[in-house]
Assembly symmetry: C2
Homo-oligomer: 158 residues x 2
Amino acid sequence: MKDYLECPHCGRPVRVYRNPFPTVDIIIEMPAGPPGSGREEGAVVLIRRRNPPHGWALPGGFVDYGESLEAAAVREAAEETSMKVRLVGQLGAYSDPERDPRHHTITVVFVARGEGRPRAADDAADIGVFTRETLPEDIAFDHAKILRDYFERWLPKD
Amino acid sequence: MKDYLECPHCGRPVRVYRNPFPTVDIIIEMPAGPPGSGREEGAVVLIRRRNPPHGWALPGGFVDYGESLEAAAVREAAEETSMKVRLVGQLGAYSDPERDPRHHTITVVFVARGEGRPRAADDAADIGVFTRETLPEDIAFDHAKILRDYFERWLPKD
């Protein structure tokens, strides 16, 4: 798509091509807890976003030019959760132009195993570990759909 | 990543953010042929590229801003092969910064069933239907790796 920027020097329009923005999101799997802990089954890490759109979300962010999706996923997980993660696979790519209210992003979602204790950092105002039964109500973007796909399609065959 | 364009009016540099370019590629599955046809097993459509990098490649191209990956895959398949395709799933996303010698692209690869007869169009100088045994030698980008993943990981469980 053609788009225009304003030249900061002469103020006239400069034509640029606009593409959807590539992003990654990471489903970080935490070890199950002991019986009675409420964490007997799969639990995942979500962050509460500091910036709009507000709500809980998977850790994730933009892919840099020259950076692979895998490198971006490991980097973003570390930046937002302070965890070192080991990627185990791709859940899939999500690209509905309306999935982010700010602009058109395409995300590739990775499943990963987390090491260490999650600590909120960077864009994350808070952090939590949730099972399917304890997921928060206010989930940003299309991350509720992504989590449903994970719990229904990925976890059973894992 | 920050990058600079030259303003076409005043010639001075205009800062732009540069992201990897999102693309799609499509593995179009053709019906198997009769015994003795050499097409008894899975066969896929490849195009011979009109533009550099030359060689055979999966049909595919850039995702437009505001367009889903699925819509881009159906559109690109139609533009380059003249076929109507029905998507059956995602093989995965490939993002090695070196996968395209021209610039950093991230591709999401779809598997699809094709209807109609493949006819080369748009960027395609020629078109062919190949099985794993008859794949051409000169395959552009990382499409040989993608096809290996398809034949080794996707097809057996299909």
